[in-house]
């Protein structure tokens, strides 16, 4: 059935003269385009836009949407991505006309309600972080990292210190070194020791007065809480360096431990992960950052501030700010959803989110640990990493094969081949919003798959419209735009 649904491009469905709507003749005189635009900006041939009926458009998009595997259709244990259920109530609230119909260029006086929400959001994120100053501007986690590193660079520059290095554990998200390089730092990789924790000896050996920032994810990408964190942050501070917390895994520690309390000086949140911004199709994201007081002056401007009369305003008067990192005020629509989530749950509810997320992950780990290798032991935080290393060696079943086969059973694949420190990694994060029945079905499916015929697994998935795309060609020769047939080479 699925395979019979049309997914032709609208361009391919186009028929000359076909229309969704027929408009009456305009009764306003329309000047010719040549009178309005310079000659070099005029096309010589008409733009080949698709000409289609409304039913063509609707079928095209509805059929495409049914091919999407998302949190609204399937369990989605994509490790490090916190694919929790996104309450539909937030959609209704974010769509309220007083919020959805605002224009970012309105005066502060005319958007007091929105500014109050954003002001409170800054305060809530500061409280959860244990770090008092917050910028809501960054549009996603990686931009939060970059913004915070630019804040750090501005801080050291003003202090007259030349610090060129950012230290990053080998289990870090790839965005950490990428952000550090873009911010102009040299990346120094710190090894992991047994148990997936930071190798303190390696850190000591690489730590010098050139170190600007240590970027750490805690719990780390193996789902293990870095229990040496107080030693690490003390070591960095003794050298005058700063500690950055990658907040991708905040879902494990909400209300339990605060990054500011364990020594982090800066962090980002992923509102689209931890606080339920809708998280399909890669975005939109929202990556607010929280920093210590002494870093506050460098944050991206404007911040939302409060007048003595209780009214709110956008504070642009921040002379040491690194400037804007995003147009207007960041992805406000996602921040709103995060705000509704925090207001719905409250401090007690948020704490229970993390307790349930950690419980769910440990339950899955306990059900799978005797069947799959689990290199970091029988306990975890909100996620764990299993390895198909021996399955691959003994039966030629790879992590990729398992991920692809899960699709046949109606589960999204876990994160595979990450972290890089674990061979044939399967990184599993169930989140708090899944029931025991779902976790049981997933565990039983994982156990069944590793007993299936390897040759069959190599061809999986068998039930989806597309099985195994040619990933090499997709990476090397991507087709990124439609070309009219007469122009195709």
């Amino acid at each position: 059935m699925d395979k019979a649904q049309s997914t032709e491009l609208l361009f391919e469905l186009s028929q000359p003269g076909r229309r969704c709507h027929r408009l009456p003749e305009s009764d306003v005189p329309a000047p010719a385009a040549a009178e309005l635009l310079p000659r070099h900006q005029l096309r010589s041939t008409p733009l080949p836009l698709p000409e289609v009926a409304e039913s063509d458009v609707i079928r095209h998009y509805v059929n495409l949407s049914t091919r999407n595997m998302c949190i609204d259709t399937n369990f989605y244990p994509l490790g490090s991505c916190t694919m929790k259920y996104n309450p539909k109530r937030h959609e209704r609230l974010a769509g309220l006309p007083g919020l959805a119909n605002l224009h970012p260029l309105q005066t502060d006086a005319s958007v007091q309600g929105m500014l109050e929400i954003l002001y409170d959001m800054q305060a809530y994120l500061a409280e959860i972080a244990g770090l008092p100053m917050v910028s809501l501007q960054p549009a996603a986690g990686a931009q939060g990292e970059l913004s915070a590193l630019l804040v750090a660079a501005a801080y050291f520059k003003e202090k007259g210190q030349k610090r060129t290095k950012v230290l990053i554990p080998d289990s870090a998200h790839g965005t950490n070194p990428a952000s550090a390089v873009i911010a102009g730092f040299e990346v120094i990789t710190v090894k992991s020791a047994a148990g997936a924790l930071v190798d303190l000896n390696d850190l000591k050996a690489k730590l010098d007065d050139q170190a600007a920032v240590f970027m750490i994810t805690n719990p780390n990408t193996c789902g293990i809480f870095e229990k040496q964190i107080l030693d690490i942050t003390r070591m960095m501070h003794e050298r005058g360096a700063l500690v950055y917390l990658d907040g991708a895994n905040m879902n494990a520690i909400l209300g339990k431990s605060r990054p500011g309390d364990f020594g982090a000086d800066m962090m980002h949140y992923n509102v689209h992960k931890t606080f339920t911004g809708p998280h399909g199709a890669g975005g939109p994201g929202s990556g607010p950052i929280a920093v210590r007081d002494f870093l506050g002056p460098y944050l991206p401007a404007p911040l939302v501030a409060k007048n003595s009369d209780g009214s709110f305003y956008l504070d642009h008067d921040r002379p040491k700010s690194i400037g804007r990192v995003r147009s207007f005020f960041g992805n406000v629509g996602i921040l709103l959803r995060g705000y509704f989530y925090l207001r719905t749950l409250g401090p007690q509810g948020l704490t229970e989110v993390s307790e349930q997320a950690v419980l769910n992950a440990n339950y899955l780990l306990a059900r799978l640990k005797d069947v799959y290798e689990v290199p970091n032991g029988p306990r975890c935080m909100h996620e764990f990493v299993a390895s198909a290393k021996y399955l691959r060696r003994d039966k030629k079943i790879s992590a990729m094969d398992i991920g692809k086969r899960l699709l046949d059973y109606g589960f999204h694949a876990p994160t595979v081949y990450f972290p890089l420190t674990v061979p044939e990694a399967l990184m599993i994060e169930p989140t708090e919003t899944e029931s025991k029945e779902t976790l049981d079905r997933f565990a039983e499916t994982m156990i069944r798959i590793q007993n299936e015929d390897p040759a069959m697994l190599h061809q999986a998935p068998h039930t989806l419209p597309i099985s195994r795309p040619d990933e090499v060609r997709a990476a090397r020769e991507p087709i990124l735009k439609w070309t009219p047939p007469q122009h195709a080479s």
Binding site: Y390, V416, Y417, F418, L420, P423, E471, A475
Partner: protein, 128 residues
Amino acid sequence: MQVPEQLRYAPTHEWARQDGDLITIGITQYAVELLTDLVYLDLPSVGEETSQGASFGEIESVKAVSDLYAPVAGQVAEVNQEMASEPAKIAQDPYGSGWLIKIKPAPGATLNHLLTAEQYQQQIAAGH
């Protein structure tokens, strides 16, 4: 799994072979299998320095980007441009036409610290 006797190996899955004055470096068949389909290869330029155990380039597969580590210190003397432009070809002959770079070793640099074929066999049999 092919692990030619006459080559020496790094635990990070590079092989090295003394060819006259130069040392030829590539990645092992086991590495190619682990990486799966190769997409991009980033190699140094001729004349760049390598230091033992430091990254001299990157290889990207459909799974991940991995660093390539120099088994010996020296200076890059030749680069296999054919592999750089079509890294998928490495899989066809990783120990032959799929070599990556040739290094003029630094004074005193040898291959003695590297694994023998037998030692490397043991490492990959353990699944590392």
